[in-house]
């Protein structure tokens, strides 16, 4: 069935026998049961940091195996300006507002990480989305914020964006709030609650939000410098917030175990206080949970550094993305430098058990080509089908860091790859037929970053 024939074409989900009328699904289990297999993927496409004189774009990728254009970029929404560095993006509404009649999961909020420009794209026509609004950087700087990163809708129809710097690209960062007309409402948090910022996730039933730390934009923008790590310019703390009050209640300093804590993922079950953070430079996965009124955090998965022949120092795995399957059974992640995608069973959240991994790309991957195409960087941003059976990933991290660690990607572009997952057996197998090549575009090769589905994501849907 083509998208055009789908009743869900408007981006809302057709609810069956449920007592809610808003966007998304009533429960994580409902998402698993009711979601159709994904047919369309939205993927960030970038030219920033290359000698390609073109703006970044939203790529529409056909992931319908019955389609003639399967695994191809079938459309692109080009941004009006160059230099944005499109990075992470989010929906105007998710399952957190499934009680909100009249709201639709329809608009993508797409920030430019370097430009601080925020784009609104209407996906009413799933395969022909349209840019409808642009918030210019000056409007963002007016609130002494810059470098927008994670976009989550919040339950009342508003949108919250983590901002990594002040107007000058220095610290502190904070949070910017948009209303449901995509107008800047102002700053969500009292300034000074945190210094560094990066990703965040909230669990409204527990009245908690967790934010993590990268660094000041001026520190990470130009490239990764070990001197900055020694100078304490990279993050190592988890900030737990009172979600209603917008204030930090507890900060956990992870020390050397938690250098550069990036993606934050609570379990999808709204009652849960468990979750994980990937500490990129420490090559650890940190498990956190609440007990006795406090949050606790400790490494539960540790990846060893690897010696590279002829290089000065052992290379850390650089855990750059993690995600949790919708049934909360598996944790997936990517070791960008080592070139590994991994899958752990988290049935016992404090004691993850390795299920499987695929060694591809990066500095050490066993597989360095798919369909004759060189994989010139490691696995990076992940997205999982709602039913947990198909894992997709792209290979670009951040343009200046790409140029530092995988310079070939500027010339050859990124790829998007896929593995078939067997959740019952806990195994993954690379789909050698699936390859989306971002290296072959009219303006020149492009980087590919985060992936989203029209019907919700394992990395964005939150339940009240």
């Amino acid at each position: 069935m083509s998208d055009a024939e789908q009743p869900a074409e408007t981006g809302t989900h057709e609810h069956h026998n449920h007592d809610h009328e808003g966007p998304g699904y009533a429960t994580p289990q409902a998402a698993i049961e009711e979601a159709e297999p994904e047919q369309t993927a939205y993927v960030m496409g970038l030219h920033v940091g290359q000698d390609v004189d073109a703006p970044d774009f939203l790529a529409v990728v056909d992931v319908d195996p019955d389609s003639d254009t399967y695994s191809e970029i079938i459309n692109r929404v080009k941004m009006p300006n160059k230099g944005d560095e499109l990075h992470h993006f989010g929906w105007n509404a998710c399952s957190s507002s499934c009680h909100m009649e009249g709201l639709e999961r329809r608009h993508l909020v797409i920030p430019g990480q370097r430009s601080s420009r925020i784009h609104i794209v209407d996906t009413k026509e799933r395969r022909d989305p349209e840019l409808t609004k642009v918030i210019e950087p000056e409007t963002v700087y007016d609130h002494d914020l810059s470098a927008p990163h994670t976009v989550h809708c919040i339950p009342d129809g508003e949108i919250l964006i983590s901002m990594l710097g002040d107007a000058d690209g220095d610290l502190p960062g904070g949070f910017l709030e948009l209303n449901d007309d995509f107008e800047v409402q102002g700053r969500w948090d009292p300034p000074g609650e945190i210094e560094m910022n990066y990703d965040y996730w909230y669990q409204p039933r527990q009245n908690v939000m967790l934010s993590t730390e990268w660094a000041a934009p001026k520190t990470y923008y130009p490239g990764f410098d070990l001197d900055d790590v020694e100078d304490g310019k990279y993050g190592q703390r988890l900030n737990f917030w009172d979600w209603e009050a917008g204030t930090v209640e507890q900060t956990i300093d992870l020390g050397e175990d938690g250098l550069i804590p990036l993606e934050a993922r609570f379990l999808h079950t709204p009652e849960s206080t468990h979750g994980y953070v990937g500490a990129a430079l420490s090559s650890n996965i940190i498990h956190f949970h609440e007990s006795d009124g406090e949050y606790h955090a400790e490494p539960v998965i540790e990846f060893d550094d690897r010696e590279h022949e002829g290089w000065d120092m052992p290379v850390p795995a650089l855990v750059t993305d993690i995600l949790i399957s919708m049934d909360d059974r598996y944790l997936f992640g990517s070791n960008w430098l080592h070139g590994e995608v991994w899958m752990y069973d988290i049935s016992d959240p404090s004691n993850p058990r390795k299920a499987d991994s695929i060694s591809i790309g990066g500095y050490f991957g066993d597989i360095q080509q798919v369909q004759g195409r060189d994989i010139v960087a490691g696995p990076q941003m992940l997205q999982l089908s709602l039913d947990g059976e198909r894992l997709y990933w792209t290979t670009s991290l951040f343009s200046s860091w790409d140029n530092q660690f995988f310079p070939e990607e500027a010339e050859q572009g990124s790829v998007m790859l896929k593995a078939d997952v067997d959740p019952r057996k806990g195994t993954m197998s690379l789909d050698r037929e699936f390859l989306v090549d971002f290296g072959d575009l009219p303006e020149g090769p492009a980087r590919a970053h985060e992936i989203r589905w029209p019907d919700g994501d394992c990395t964005s849907d939150v339940w009240q």
């Binding site: 940091g49 004189d53 230099g83 560095e85 001026k218 130009p222 070990l226 290089w311 200046s400």
Partner: protein
Amino acid sequence: MTEVLLDWRDSDRTETVSVPDGETILDAAAAADIGLPFGCRTGACGTCTARLLSGDVVHHRPPRALKDRHLADGYVLLCIAEPRTDAHLAVGATVQAELVPNPWK
């Protein structure tokens, strides 16, 4: 008005841009329809990094993306750089990539 020679290091391409007084090299190049890499336009991100080969260029805001060693080596940020004399600059994405090498390699 000064004349700035832009030199793409990895190719034979060169372009000359006339930069009016008080205008940045990036803006003057854009006005002449010459595309250069850039990002934040405020001196924080370093995407527009170029290297001064000759001439005199000043930054009209603090070049926060550049460390002292970069400034000493002649790196400049074209988004906030104004030439004071005719100048010759190496440009293109590979110049930015030199700022911080792979620490493990």
